[in-house]
Point group: C2
């Protein structure tokens, strides 16, 4: 039953310790059962009658002959206590009101009200109230209907001020996580009891944006469970404004407002709101509340009972439509959608993940069987884009809303607007610092790469005298052929131009893209990884390495791998001669072909399987290209913006490109936008007096205001130590997020082939042979199913590579928690 938990208030409450437990709790935040219709009552302002509405709703629920059998009311934060106690008011009023509600037959009500944590200043400590009452004649032969009412206050302070002030003054601070933890427990109560339907009502404190004890706003504190909202509007003069603004603040937190209800003050605010909110939210109006404080409101409540019944019906229908829709989504998605990279035959309908929302690093997924919203850590960082913690998510929402309202979209060529300019300034002062001078916007990684290639080819043509003065002449030079220099295992996107720059793979087969030919010289890169607790270098067979000692191929730490002192090691010559030899050989056998660009993913090849390329090899490669005046492109779509622990992976490589590409994390992982950065020398190659030599590539939404605005916020947020606690200011990089000891341990498990842990990425390749290896592998799938269904981790494999990826702001504690779960599963696999 509902009353099992947390029954007694206590001066000393379970203390909430240290940021570590807080964050773990956040990551492990509880499921929200949808079997109980549950609503959060928010107010357009303080004093608009939230408690009256709660009481009326609770009473009409209890009076209903059918369902529910239990009503649970929660006031998480109460000030002015015990003089004011909304829970007590609801308790008292519900008991009294039940008398007046029309009903068929008798009702037996078991009711209680209690307070968990009063502040030390609260005197006298209120007693727990318990009662059993029977309403209606019992002599009519029917058994009385059984109903239960549980009213509860979580935290109570004496002073009738905002909780953030009361908490400070009375020495009872409460962290948001603590509130959420208790609310989650409350939400979980009774879900599996099967004692009949339970309804729950949570009443917030003050207005929608009133601060809680920590200073976080009401609408932010409760966001994690995203309960549907019953908004109590304001019927007074000015009340239209405060109601609509409150409504908008709720929308800007991603809440669904199920209904608005407000008191009639003779100003017809309800009529206006009804018309304004038409199609979106139903509006209910309550009769004027008697001003006389001595009025016990009996008449008012009885006059209002029909409104409350209607409200109950509205909420009920909202709830059942929501469930119905959620239940239908798997089937509909199977019928209508066409997912990328997905063989639909291999996706059973009940394996489709229904995502109801996200909050920081977690998805809120709906489980059809359990009728529950379950949080899952998004270990794919939503396809490698995700930057925001839950705070940044809300800030970004506000900022993109503003940008949409201010700009909508405005076309870009020959124009300038603030977000595009500001974003360019931040890019050139950040990832482009010390080398780039121009920003070319586009929509995604693929387009950024296609643009980069066009830039590089033009630059090459200029530098090598292939473009002569007469522009028209060159347009017919069909005999000249440009190729790229790239690495096997690379990936640069799915449009044809980007694909042509990568080596053949399952993605590029005739079956997938009949136009693919692979226009490159593709080298075999040496890789590094952790195995048996040691960083090791692995050379491909094409690089001859008889003369290397183990001191050249084993490293005590990642720092050593990146260390510039390796530039004098014997590996350098090996690399340089391999590269030179490949280039000369290619030149000999391909007469009219030019290697006109180098394109690499610096340090980590993402889609190719999370391989870490020896940074020394890439450094040598860049150097060899610069010697030959071959323009260098860094594809930082994956690696950019702190993915690898630094803002740009070029900081790790220790050498700079001529052109680089950014997308994904750039907008905080919220909306598509890409940028190709270039040096002034590259830009100059397009200048002339003819439009025909300009770079004629563009997309309609180039530099769209919302994307640029999000990028401006995100780029600053990541690197500001006041918003990103992971920033190590001394070295301008992220602190270590994946516990080194744990990572080393994983690397020595018998099932594990290699581990790469760097920045926000921890990738683990499982040992697999023959048909288990490679892209089509389903080897890791049982492991991942367990993570998803039992551990609350949503991961997606790359063949037999599983990985955890977080955002630049994710706490180390959360990372450790997830990684421990993976460790447990891997050990079970053994």
């Amino acid at each position: 039953m509902l009353r099992r938990l947390l029954l007694h208030h206590a001066r000393r409450r379970r203390r909430w310790h240290s940021s570590s437990s807080t964050s773990s709790a956040a990551a492990a935040s509880a499921a929200v059962p949808l079997s109980s219709p549950t609503f959060a009552v928010f107010g357009a302002n303080t004093g608009v009658g939230k408690t009256l509405v709660s009481a009326g709703l609770v009473a009409s629920l209890l009076a209903s002959p059918s369902s529910p059998s239990t009503v649970s009311y929660l006031k998480p934060l109460q000030t002015g206590f015990p003089a004011d106690s909304d829970a007590r008011f609801v308790f008292d009023r519900a008991l009294a009101l039940l008398r007046d509600f029309p009903r068929a037959g008798a009702t037996r009500l078991v009711a209680s009200n209690h307070t968990l944590y009063p502040s030390p200043a609260v005197e006298p400590l209120p007693e727990r109230q318990d009662t059993v009452v029977t309403y209606g004649g019992e002599g009519d032969g029917h058994r009385a209907v059984e109903k239960v009412l549980v009213c509860r206050t979580m935290y109570a302070w004496r002073e009738a001020v905002s909780p953030h002030l009361a908490a400070e003054r009375e020495g009872m601070p409460v962290e948001d996580e603590e509130v959420r933890w208790l609310v989650d427990r409350w939400l979980a109560e009774g879900a599996e009891d099967g004692d009949g339907e339970v309804w729950k009502v949570l009443e917030t404190a003050g207005g929608v944006a009133s601060p809680g004890p920590s200073g976080a706003l009401q609408c932010d504190i409760y966001r994690s469970s995203r309960l549907p909202v019953l908004l109590v509007g304001d019927g007074r003069l000015g009340g239209i404004s405060s109601t609509l603004s409150a409504y908008e603040s709720l929308l800007l937190r991603g809440y669904d407002v199920s209904s608005v209800i407000l008191e009639d003050h003779g100003l017809s605010n309800d009529k206006f709101l009804h018309s304004y909110l038409r199609k979106r939210v139903p509006v209910h109006v309550l009769p004027p509340i008697p001003a006389d404080p001595k009025d016990d409101l009996s008449d008012w409540f009885s006059e209002s009972s029909s409104v409350f019944c209607l409200l109950k019906d509205t909420l009920e229908s909202f709830h059942s439509r929501r469930i119905q829709r959620l239940n239908s989504m798997q089937r509909k998605s199977k019928d209508l959608l066409w997912w990328p990279f997905t063989q639909h035959n291999l996706v059973p309908v009940d394996s489709v993940t229904v995502i109801d929302s996200r909050f920081g690093e977690n998805f809120a997924t709906y489980k059809v069987k359990d009728k529950k919203i379950v949080p899952q850590f998004d270990a794919c960082a939503s396809w490698w884009t995700q930057g925001p913690d839950s705070n940044l998510q809300i800030e970004l929402a506000r900022d993109v809303g503003y940008a949409a309202a201010r700009y909508g979209h405005v076309m870009f060529p020959e124009n300038v607007h603030e977000p595009a300019l500001r974003c360019a300034e931040l890019l050139l002062g950040g990832v482009g610092k010390d080398w780039a001078s121009r920003v070319y916007y586009s929509d995604n990684g693929s387009t950024a790469i296609e643009i980069a290639l066009k830039m590089a080819f033009r630059k090459y043509a200029c530098d090598h005298g292939i473009l002569v003065d007469n522009v028209k002449d060159i347009t017919s030079k069909k005999s000249i052929c440009f190729k790229v220099l790239a690495l096997n295992g690379s990936y640069h996107g799915d449009t044809l131009g980007a694909m042509e720059a990568q080596a053949p793979s399952a993605y590029t087969s005739f079956l997938q893209q009949p136009w693919y030919s692979g226009r490159g010289l593709f080298l075999d890169p040496p890789t590094v990884y952790i195995r048996n607790k040691t960083w090791q270098l692995s050379l491909p067979s094409s690089i001859c390495h008889d003369q290397l000692s183990s001191c050249d191929t084993c490293y005590s730490s990642l720092t050593e791998v990146f260390c510039k002192t390796r530039d004098t090691s014997s590996v350098v010559n090996l690399y340089a001669s391999y590269i030179s030899q490949q280039l000369s050989q290619y030149a000999l056998s391909n007469n009219s072909e030019h290697i006109a660009a180098l394109i690499i993913e610096p340090v980590i090849q993402g889609a190719g399987g999370m391989h870490m390329i020896d940074p020394l090899f890439q450094r040598v490669l860049v150097k060899e290209c610069k010697i030959r005046k071959i323009p260098v492109i860094y594809d930082e779509v994956f690696t950019g913006f702190w993915r690898l622990g630094v803002e740009s992976a070029s900081e790790l490589l220790g050498c700079l490109p001529d052109i680089s590409c950014y997308a994904k994390l750039m907008t905080g992982g919220i909306v598509p936008l890409a940028a190709t950065l270039a040096t002034e020398a590259v830009f100059e190659a397009f200048k002339s007096d003819s439009k025909l030599t300009a770079l004629l590539h563009g997309h309609s939404y180039t530099a769209h205001a919302m994307g640029c605005t999000a990028a401006v916020k995100a780029i600053q947020w990541y690197k500001d130590p006041s918003t990103n606690l992971n920033i190590d200011l001394d070295h301008m990089r992220l602190k270590e997020l994946w516990d080194g000891t744990l990572v080393n341990h994983l690397s020595s498990l018998p099932t594990v082939k290699r581990v790469v842990s760097l920045g926000t990425l921890c990738a683990i390749e499982l040992k697999a042979e023959g048909s288990d290896a490679g892209y089509a592998s389903l080897y890791a799938s049982s492991l991942l199913r367990q993570l998803r269904e039992e551990d609350g981790i949503y991961a997606r494999p790359l063949g037999n590579v599983i990985y955890l990826m977080c955002g630049p702001c994710t706490t180390r504690e959360s990372c450790t928690l997830q990684l421990s779960k993976v460790q447990r599963r891997l050990e079970m696999l053994t």
Copy 2:
């Protein structure tokens, strides 16, 4: 001087007539001079002291020895009049306060207060107040500083209720456009006088979202001029919430809040707000206001004078930073940005358009020379994407803010979320109705096309037995070569795959894309256009047409051009035999090549020069392909979603594709998102038990929640007659937007070669010979400069084609207004 205009109030005011003049006024809304610092005072609620703040600010401005010389205060909407008159209060208080403000030397103040339009119920009619006062000793040898104060009320109603009620009850309705028109006049006043600096303060009514007389919210009524906001916060209990929510409502309209100021009620609301708004908005706090209604507030104002001085400084610095930034943007954009399709050498720094914001169809552009924000009709519909009128823009802002807060971004494969599903339902029930059954999301038109080609090729391979059971076998079938069938002049995007499907052009030269080869058989299409008031058919030389009579090549109307009865005309055979002959000839000379897809832009080729292809030709083409089992792709990126007056251009063609592509207008022109729709038969071609046969193409932000949410709103908005007044419900198409007579007139001008007017597009090709013709043409540039600088129309040519493009909701009146301006310029050109 300021007092020139609108000096006398009147029972009968200039009436606002008919929707036509309203809309014209909207389109021609006035410039906002930035030479006068101007702020709008909004309230977090009613009764928070907006007028006290206005009075204090006005007084401290007048007391300042340096600037400004003139302060103009405006109360556009006043209720409770004349008992309440905020303008009179400001007038009286400013006069009184000036006595107490510390100053060096004497000040001579010329002050006035008057009311323009009291409602018929207002009694007694207030007199105009005028006075001249000198403050401070005049005997000190210095001349007195001259200052002017103008206080003004625009509309006044007797009852102290919300203006929307007062307007109705007192029989004085006022349209928003009327309010805006007067505000614009007020903003323009004194801008060119050079009498010294002018400051302006506009005080709104009630809270930020309180209704005006028409029912539009305060924050919406004044959005067109987007004045910087001074937000008067709420210091009472609950005031943190109402202040923050009001702030967010302002952001969701695209306002910049320069400062928050609020009364101290002993609750430290200001401290909380200061900390919450840190880095964004400065917060000022005023001493508690005496509760005694008899208190004349002299002491309070004198106590507050330092706060008001500080406020004045804050606003001053906000204003000058804004101007400084705006002035720097042209230079910075030239230094940092790299515009698409732009030869930077041809863009002088002072020709860069600085876009401060957009409102509906208009850009608000900043003119550096004039220090003015000038509205310009966006005749490019922001690169062909634009859907929203000003209402939809705000709705979209709210919706994308909600989507960002609810979802951020969530990855898509094997997942489903509400916006992606709902959008798919709307697409399949709209543009995909009766044929499509699957939606594949991507980011932009180019990627949608690349995906469509991959779909078509696979389908073709299946249908023609090219894919045999053994998947691995086909990956090595290098000898087979797929090509597309397409039309000369077509354009499908700038990524390589999309480019390969189009005929050679300036965009595809070796100079631009060395990898382009043009993988298609490109046919010459017949076109239709208006010339000399008649729709005419123009056949390319490759189509033999000796036997055609003029009844086959001239049409009385556009309806006739589209009419299905033409299917029996003699042109059909001409077309069919041309197509068959081209296909057979190609097959003969290209042995291993397959024409594996048809790709066309239905009806209009956009980027190719706004050419209307004979719909009959495209119909025959589709038929011939279907006979040969060649999959048909419609590139509706440009034509989709009412661009041509119908939701899908396939309605105009009268035949359906196998695959079609959408982007641009789909999201309401606010954020990138694309969709490729396909039949179930196409989808089936990818199904098997192997992941390798799935469509392996995707982008990180596939089906991103914000884009899908915007699309859901926009798709519904366009076709709902209650939101889009252009919808002709009987025919489910847009009413004619471009005046037929005017269009015909244009088509007969000597400088005009042809006109195409259809749906939201009106394109005019100018006559040009030799080097003037073609893409590089600068022929139209002087015309466009005049439109931009003198007519307030922002247009961008396609070679010697100039066009006007509007959104699906733009009024016919606005279209006519713009088109008349173009007509005038064209006639001058003659």
